[in-house]
Every structure is written in C-alpha cells, then in structure tokens.
C-alpha cells in the first residue's frame, strides 16, 4: 500500500516533543516549510486529567497515558516490560519510560530545567573519564537562554545563588516560593552540614507567562499538570502550527531513504495505523524522536548500503546508553513535622556533588528532596504496623507529615557495551521490532551511588529518622542519553558538534541521544538548547542556499 500523494518540505522532522516542535516553531517563523511526523496521536490535557483522577495508583506517572498500538511506549517501569526489553546485570536500572504522542514526554516531566555545568562538556579533558562533547558550554549558552525563554523557566537570582552554569541574562521568571517542607529541610542542611540546598530551576510559571497561568502547587506535575503552568512540548506544537508548520500525527517513521552515494537523505517513509506507507521528501531531515526511538529508527533503516543502520559507519548507533541512575530512600523524620506535598514536586536540590576533582574517580550527583504527598506511603506503613481505627487515622496523619523522600541523579558514563539493539523476539503491530537494551552500571556510577548512600545515611541520622525504606538496587531516572553519541572523530561517534550525522550531510539529530556525557541535571533543557541550535544552523543554511 502506498499513498498517491508525496509530502514534501524544506525540513522534515521526526518527533514532536520539545526538540522537534521547537525546531519546527523556529523554522516556520523564519518562513521555512516544515513537516513534523509524530508516531503517536494528537492528545489533549483534559482527558489526561480525567484519567489521572480515575487512576488508582497515583504515583504511576505513565498510568494516565495508555498507548496506542501502533506507537507503543513502555507501560511502566517494571521488568520484564511489554515494550522496552532490558537485559544485562543491571537491566532494572535501565527500565526507562517515555511517551509517544503529540508534544512528547514533557507531558509528564517535573519541569526541572538545569543547564549543564561547563565541566560536564569536558569530562575527558578535565577528569580523564568518559568523553568530551564536540562543543563547549559557551557554544550552547545563548541557546540555553533561548530555551529558557521558550519554555518559561524560573530560577534564583544568579548573584545570590550561583548554580555553576554562567549566565548572561537572569532567569525569565523569579524562583519558586519555598514550601514549608523545603524551608525545614534547608534550615537543617544549612545549620548542621557544610552542604547547601539550592532553588531548582523549573520550567514552571511563577507568574502568568506565555498565556498560561501561575503554578498553584497541585503537586502532580507528574503525571499531569492540570492547569498548564508547567511547560510541555504541546505549546511549541501549537506555536509552530500557528506559524505554519505542518504536524502529521499517527505517522510512524520506519525507513530513512538515502541517495545512491549514501551521502544525503532523500526521504523518510512512515506507516499510518493501518500500515499504509507514505513517503516524505525534503532538503533536510531531523530525527528528534527520543533517545530510545531515535536509535531504533536508525537501526531499523538498515539496508544494503548501510547494513548496520543509517548514520552508523562508526558502529556507535545504539551504544553508550547512559542515564542518571538513582538512589532513593524514604524515612520518617524524628524532628518536627514537614508536611511535604504542597507545591511543585521537585524544587530543592543539594548541588554540592555536581562537580569536583573526585570526578576522576567517581561520578557526580545531585540530590532532590522530593516534595510529594506521602499519604499513600504513610497509609501502607501505618497499616503494616497494625494500627486500626482512630489510631490508624492519627498515625497516617503523623507519618504523612514526617516522611522525607530523597533521591539522587548519579552520573552515568559512556560505555559502548551498554547497547540498544532491535529485539529479535518482539515486534509491534506494524512489524517494527521493539527496542532492547543491555545495561551494566559503570563502576564510575556505582561508586557515585555508594557515596550518595553514605550521604543519605548521614541525613537520616541528622533527622533522627526511622522506618527507612530504600528502593532496592538502582533505579532509572528516565533520562536516557548517548545512543547517537556526539564526537569529533567519525570513527567513534555518530554526530558532530552541530548534531549533524557524520555520514549524511543533511541529517541532524536533536535528542539526548547525542549527549557525550550525561552530567547530573535533568536533560530536557539541554535537549531544547541543542534543538534550537540545530534550528539556527538549518536557518542559516536554508536562507543562504
């Protein structure tokens, strides 16, 4: 089955998340024709809010988003999983979740909008570990700011709280007010430790911004902000559409076609949900389909000319899988009540271990004091202790107000052995193989996690904590990176410093898949900044052509 009509545009983008939609918006505003192909459907907020209200397992942030069969995403973080199959000694630590639908995974992120540190881009030259990027912090700085303005990021006054990533402009919005729980936590940390708690930069409105309201602290950023105070990719989709970009939902790209010389991409092919095949031609192509799906698409496109997959002469497509592996503990503070669960989920971070000379030995990390509602945990704990009746009610109240949850982002490291491949066993209804990832935690990350556990134990002691509940092993933070790694040398990397594939001059990748190191801050702002930089490159090349 093939469609009669061939779609065509100056730039064809695969994926409508923050990366794809923001590129589309920039290009469309510059008068460049754009088509965005999105594997998933058009969606809207009210149905997700309704799903969330009906959801029994509220913390399940993949829960309100039951996938469509032609564009499945992982239903949860369980291993084994019906879609993302992980293997290896640390399979469970790579059980990432993400969303395939218009607007992408930022429908259910927590809005944490960190810039990377300058050192994150130079891990190899500064600390002899991992890889350097093929660009420096300063190359990205203007695009970080552009991304912050686009998303609406609030953050602290740099003169009062320097987060280590030099800024030319202040944050577009003032930092969030600090919740009561966070105030208590800050006080403790500053009085009893040499550490500090900083305001986390957040893509969340602290005043009406971009025709969206101020955050009211509903405390369910994940799975769904009910009022649109937090950025998600759908806003960039709307803005891009208003500027003339064309978005095609339910378009599952399965093949990247190249010219005879295998130097230029000529078209991408997609299946509609009924497996009708369509061809879309263009001058430039951008794959912006999330770290996992981007690598999968390049591998699926293997043919005689590129037997190991498109853009894969290095053999590095699908390798170097990284994440911010997490260590997590909840406990009951023996001190005064904190009453967590008021305000946004993640606003306060201990950032002392984001950088240091010790990075030559062990990975960096940051610690979130997670400000989420703890009634469910408190209830199960109180029941497990055998309380009933009025005492049960009192215990729930006590425990919910005294629970502390800490988790970390521990730095992963590029290791080619950690690898995404196409499943030989599982295929979706369109016949496209599921992704499979082998994962073994780098020693570097394990040492970092050990250090974090030590810190958490100290903090539990400081707060006279009890009833510690450690999440077993290591858990995924859903910040996958590295599957089309950036580098100077085409022999061991997939894209160059412009995010252009070494193999195909008109094929770009806008995704965390290009990250050469993963640092500690949440990845989204860096994804957006890289995407806006790709848009800038494309604008220059298309307007000078």
């Amino acid at each position: 089955m093939s469609s009669e009509q061939t779609l065509s545009a100056d730039v064809v983008i695969v994926g409508s998340g923050v990366a794809g939609s923001s590129i589309a918006n920039e290009l469309a505003r510059a008068g460049i024709s754009v088509i965005v192909l999105e594997a998933g459907p058009r969606v809207d907020r009210q149905h997700f809010v309704e799903n969330f209200r009906n959801l029994e397992n509220k913390p399940s942030y993949q829960g309100p988003f039951p996938a469509v069969p032609w564009a499945r995403h992982p239903p949860n973080q369980m291993t084994p999983n019906e879609y993302l199959h992980t293997t290896g000694p640390d399979a469970e630590a790579y059980q990432q979740v993400y969303l395939r639908m218009m607007g992408g995974t930022t429908w259910h992120w927590a809005g944490c909008a960190w810039r990377y540190l300058p050192s994150d881009f130079e891990l190899r030259s500064r600390y002899g570990q991992g890889r350097d990027w093929a660009l420096k912090y300063d190359d990205l700085e203007p695009f970080y700011y552009q991304a912050e303005v686009m998303m609406g990021v609030c953050g602290p006054d740099p003169a009062k709280e320097d987060l280590g990533s030099p800024r030319k402009q202040p944050y577009p919005m003032d930092a969030l007010p600090i919740s009561y729980a966070a105030q208590q936590f800050r006080k403790l940390i500053s009085e009893k430790t040499p550490l500090r708690v900083v305001h986390e930069p957040q893509a969340r409105n602290t005043r009406p911004y971009d025709n969206r309201p101020t955050c009211e602290g509903h405390n369910n950023c994940m799975p769904i902000c009910p009022i649109g105070a937090m950025y998600n990719g759908s806003y960039s989709v709307y803005h891009a559409e208003a500027a003339g970009a064309q978005f095609v939902p339910n378009a599952v790209v399965y093949k990247i076609e190249r010219d005879d010389a295998n130097k230029r991409v000529t078209a991408v092919h997609y299946f509609d949900p009924d497996k009708g095949s369509h061809r879309v031609t263009g001058k430039y192509f951008v794959i912006a389909a999330h770290c996992i799906e981007t690598a999968k698409l390049l591998l699926v496109s293997a043919d005689d000319k590129s037997p190991d997959g498109v853009a894969n002469s290095s053999g590095h497509v699908g390798r170097n899988m990284m994440d911010h592996t997490g260590v997590q503990v909840t406990f009951i503070s023996g001190d005064e009540a904190l009453w967590p669960g008021r305000g946004p989920l993640e606003t306060n971070v201990i950032d002392n271990f984001r950088d240091g000379d010790w990075r030559s030995e062990r990975g960096a990390y940051l610690v979130h004091m997670v400000d989420d509602n703890q009634v469910d945990l408190a209830t199960s704990l109180a029941i497990s202790k055998g309380y009933v009746g009025k005492e049960l009610e009192e215990q729930i109240r006590y425990l919910a107000s005294h629970t502390v949850r800490l988790f970390s982002h521990n730095e992963g490291l590029a290791d080619p052995e950690n690898r995404l491949t196409l499943s030989k066993t599982y295929k979706d209804i369109l016949g496209i193989p599921h992704p499979e990832v082998y994962y073994k935690l780098p020693e570097y990350t394990v040492k970092s996690c050990d250090h974090t556990r030590g810190l958490f134990k100290d903090l539990i002691g400081l707060m006279h904590g009890r009833d510690e509940q450690w999440t077993p092993g290591y858990f995924p933070q859903d910040h996958p990176a590295g599957s089309t790694i950036m580098g100077v040398d085409p022999k061991d990397s997939v894209v160059d410093g412009e995010c252009r594939t070494h193999d195909h001059e008109n094929l770009f990748i806008a995704s965390s898949s290009v990250f050469s190191s993963v640092g500690t801050g949440n990845i989204t702002l860096t994804v957006a900044a890289l995407a806006l930089r790709v848009a800038d490159t494309l604008k220059k090349e298309l307007t000078h052509a």
Binding site: E56, F65, M101, P208, P213, E216, P226, A242
Partner: protein
C-alpha cells in the same frame, strides 16, 4: 491579552482621518505650572484616554487601536503633541472643541466613539489642565496610524452633525472640580471623566444613551456591561460603598464580582490609579443612582449558589491517549475548572481564584460574561497582582474546548452555582468568537 481589534458597539465611531497637512504651529509658548500639568495627567487617567488611543504594544497615545464596526475598522488617532502626526498644532480652543463638542480642528465632526458626549461635562479648568498635560507631559510620537475608511453613509462625517443635535449632552460643570462636595465630585468623575454610562447605559435607536435606564446595563463586544444601578434585584444595591471602592481599586471583591475584559482594562488603566477620596465619591454617587429593575432578575447577581459537596472517589476506566471525545458538563468542569475553582466551586482559600457561587458573573441572568470568560479568560494586572485565567477557545495552549463543551460547562456552572441553567447551545457560543 488586549486585542488588536476591539469592537466597541455598533457605529460608535472614532475620528479616523489624518491630521497631515494641517499647518504646523508651535506649542503654547508659556509652559504652564507643574501643578496644572499634574492635574491634567490625573484627569487623563480618570478619563482613560489611553485605553482607546494606544494600540497593544504601541507607544502611549500614539493611536492605532482598531475598533471594528459593521461599517469597517476604524482606527484611533495619535493624540501625542507631535505637530504633524498628533495634536501638537492644536490650540487650547481647538482642543476644547474636539474634547467637549466632537469637532476637529479642520471643522469636521468626530465619530462619537470618542466619548465627547461625556466629556462635554468637563469644567473649563479641567479642559485647560488636560491640554497642558497632553502638550507638555506626553511624549510626541511621529507615527501616523492607518487611516480609517468606512463604508457609506458612515464615511460621510457631516452626517455626524445631525447625530450631534439629537444626542444628549452633559451640561458643562462650572467652578473648580477639586472643590466639589463628595456627591457632586462623584457625579462629575462618573459622568464627565470615567464615562461609566458609555458602556453601562443601554442605547436607543439612534444609539444615544437611554437616560431613563441610566447605568441599566448594555452589551459590549460579546461582554455585557451589567446593570450597576441601586436596584436590589438587578443592580448592585446590595454593595457597600467600601465594596465598590475596593472593586474599582483592585478589580475584585470576593463574594461579589471580579473584572474581566473591558472592565479589567478600565480598572488597570484608570480606576486603580484614582485617589481613595475620588473612588469613595464615585462609589457614593453610583450607589444612589435610581434603581432600574429588570423583569428577568429577582435577586442580586452575587447572591446565588453555595459550595457543593461531592467527595471524589472515582475509580473509572482509563481512556486511551487518542480518545479525545468531547466531555459533558460536569466532566468538562472536573478536568478543566476544578483544579483551580475547586471540586466544591469555592475557589482558592486566598481568593486569588474566585469562588463560583456568590459571584456576579455566574449569578447573572445572562450567560454572556461567563461564556466570554471561558473562551478568553481573565488577565488583569493591578499593582503587583496579576489575576490570570487561561482562555479555553481554539487558540488556547492549556485546553481547546469545542463550542459544545463551552456551552455545556457554562450551563453546568450556572446550574450548579448560579442563577440556573441558561441552556446555552454550541451555536450560541459560536457567535461569541472574536472575528
């Protein structure tokens, strides 16, 4: 957000031609004293000149705001003291004639979207002060807004001479307006400056204000400027002077009402900047205006409804992400309104988000203002407080509701918390969309 096109009401039109070609003449040679200029600035704020004479994002008083009418867009003029593009060449006499009588320097008639019918009540001293301020404190802007071109017969400015004879005018006040007693000062501010009646008084067949229904309410570009007479059933007869002062100062009084649309702009640009004494004068005057009782209203708009009690213990089936089937009333409310206004309709505890019961917009017998609020939201900045509700029309980034869903949620909210189900249909909602 202000619109680039603001419809006022049928055929109230503003002077739209360009003053180019008028021989340039220097400003008054003597600079008037600072007190007079300052007084003029205050009066210009009270008269809210900036609202019409500045386009969104434009330079103050440089004109360019489009006002849509059935006869075409008309464009407000540059009233900065630039001699070529603005009114810099106007003498005080020229200025007086246009402000109080609607006659331009070149002798042609202004269209009465310029509320000269109201301004005709200004004292000589206040006209002088306004002139001094416009000439000496407003920055000249060398920009000419696009020319107004209307279809026949409105294109014939002389036709306005006839209208002028028929329309009622305020008698000019005399004496020093600053020395008026409270009630006289209130009437002066409400009529000659704030021109409340321009929107709140219904119009007769020649579009002149019906003085027997003074402040009795009238439609305004989709919104409805409600009855603000002292009627106990239809107006604001249950408001105290302090309530009204607070409303004009902040745009919101919990348990009464909140300003959106054109009234939010009036509060932002004008009333929130007035002195307490002047606001009390206006309030005292408005609250003694003769009641106009409407047949359709039997109790005050802000006296309807109460908090609902409905514990949320849902355990329903989840819908797949591609299922975007339209919701019905209560579900539209639950997924789009309840997060801020509460499952019980009580709003936020600090009332940043108002309650839906005891709320004039929901208790009104006409659904117009609730429909407009759902479609276009609220954006009102007074001092440091920025009240904001997103719109839910087809341009919303938060949630785009269908006309049917808007109708459903309006009916649900008014049935649940207000004056009763108005049975609005999707087709009716469609007529409220901005063109």
């Amino acid at each position: 957000m202000p619109d680039t096109v603001r419809k006022v009401f049928v055929s109230l039109l503003v002077a739209g031609t360009v003053l180019a070609g008028v021989p340039s003449r220097s400003k008054a040679a003597d600079t008037p004293d600072a007190a007079l200029i300052e007084r003029g600035g205050y009066l210009a704020t009270a008269a809210d000149c900036v609202a019409c004479h500045t386009k969104p994002g434009g330079k103050p008083f440089a004109g360019g705001l489009k006002i849509a009418t059935p006869m075409g867009d008309i464009v407000s003029t540059n009233i900065t003291p630039d001699p070529e593009h603005g009114i810099g060449a106007y003498t005080e006499e020229d200025f007086e004639k246009s402000v109080r009588h609607g006659i331009r320097k070149d002798g042609s008639y202004l269209y009465p979207a310029m509320p000269y019918v109201s301004y005709s009540g200004l004292t000589d001293g206040d006209v002088k002060a306004l002139y001094a301020w416009f000439m000496h404190a407003v920055k000249p802007v060398a920009e000419t807004p696009p020319q107004t071109s209307l279809s026949f017969p409105a294109s014939v400015r002389t036709a306005m001479a006839g209208w002028n004879m028929l329309a009622n005018h305020n008698q000019a006040e005399t004496g020093d307006s600053a020395s008026f007693d409270k009630m006289r000062r209130g009437r002066y501010l409400a009529n000659a400056l704030e021109h409340c009646g321009t929107c709140h008084t219904p119009r007769n067949f020649i579009l002149s204000e019906k003085q027997d229904q003074y402040l009795g309410g009238g439609p305004l570009d989709g919104w409805y400027a409600p009855n603000i007479t002292s009627s106990k059933t239809s107006g604001i007869g249950d408001w105290s002077e302090d309530d009204l002062v607070r409303y004009l100062q902040t745009g919101a009084v919990s348990g009464r009402s909140q300003a959106a649309g054109p009234m939010a702009e009036a509060v932002e640009h004008s009333t929130s900047h007035l002195t307490d004494a002047d606001l009390h004068a206006i309030a005292a005057y408005i609250l003694q205006v003769s009641p106009y009782d409407e047949d359709t209203a039997h109790k005050p708009r802000d006296s309807f409804g109460e908090a609902t009690v409905q514990p949320d213990i849902r355990r329903g089936d989840l819908t797949r992400i591609d299922d975007v089937t339209a919701f019905k009333g209560g579900a539209v409310y639950g997924a789009n309104c309840a997060a801020c206004h509460g499952d019980d309709g009580a709003g936020a505890r600090n009332k940043y988000v108002p309650s839906l019961f005891a709320n004039s917009v929901v208790g009104a017998s006409r659904p117009d203002n609730l429909i407009m609020t759902v479609l276009y939201g609220v954006h009102r900045t007074v001092g440091k407080t920025e009240a904001f509700m997103p719109g839910f029309d087809g341009g919303s980034d938060v949630q785009r509701l269908s006309d049917g869903e808007v109708a459903d949620v309006v009916n649900y909210v008014m049935a649940q918390y207000g004056s009763g189900n108005p049975h609005v249909t999707a087709d009716q909602v469609k007529t409220f969309h901005k063109k």
